[in-house]
Amino acid sequence: MSRIPTLVIVFAYLSLLTFGGGMAAYPEMETLTVDVYHWLTGTELIHLYSVGQAAPGPNMMMVTAIGAHVAGPLGALAAVVAFLAPTALMTLAVGRLWRRLEGWSWRDAIQRGLAPVSVGLILAGCISLGRGALTGWVTVSVAIAVFALVLSTRINPALLVLGGALVGLVGLAR
């Protein structure tokens, strides 16, 4: 159980990097969980992250799966609480301050300045994930098809992820 404190520190730190969404923290999550602590392999991380996209609710509940994989039920609890608590407390505090900051001229500057950085970090996360997950023409075609369908239809994303699983089963099994 000595891994619990490390899990807490790692996921609390990752929590503070999730500007714009969980994807922004993905490159750092890969570095820490795979390269530094060897909790799982790069492929395992991609698998858990991707299955997490088909799970209901906020799209980073996969941190629970990493915690469970590393240290069982207690690890799952530690990872998800550590991942949620720091930003939750910050949001609670800033949410109450926000209206009082209305007249502060830098409020708008901070908001407009952080927007492109968030988008950049999320794209960087997509690139990290893509590097690991796109290994041949089948996977590239699936990614392009899903990308196009999300942008052009209102189809439930969970169905697309399920479709990816079926294509994988048919096209990638050896």
């Binding site: 922004a24 609710g57 949001t91 590239v140 990614a143 392009i144 899903v146 994303p157 089963l169």
Partner: protein, 185 residues
Amino acid sequence: MSGEPTRPATVSIGDIFRVFLLLGATSFGGGVVAYLRSSLVGKHRWLDDTAFVELLSISQTLPGLNATNMAILVGDRLRGTTGAAAAICGICLPGALVMFVVGMLYGHHAGRPAVAAMLHGVGAAAVGLVTAVSLQIGRRSLDGLADLAFVALSVLGVHALHLPLPYVLVGVGLLAIWWHRPRRT
């Protein structure tokens, strides 16, 4: 929508937990914000549209997932700290339970070729999904060529220069905030 009561006096902690639990069980992928809007603004009238957009813009500026930040802000508006706690627990519980089970099973079954092949396909689909959702967010929040340059700088910082993510975040963040600094006219 104007003139409608936006904060019924009778929202209980239990109501908050139940509504967010249902949201957490039925919303998928990047679409959580749309589900939140139709439930909180449309169905339950806990917020009006203006308040929803305001809270969403706070959610998107701060670190944290949009869905959990929204849960905190809405819960806090309705019933203070307890409301915020009920909302975030509710919205996270279903997905966290699902992924807990996945995490416990994963080690035992991932070695099977059929499972590995399916997960490989799921990974590819996830790349397409998150990239598309990111693009949708970016299209809405970016403003001009300078912002595109800040996006590019962040990506290059992470992938070409291999800088630690916090350095990129603070470095490019400060630069971009300075660029958008308040100007007296």
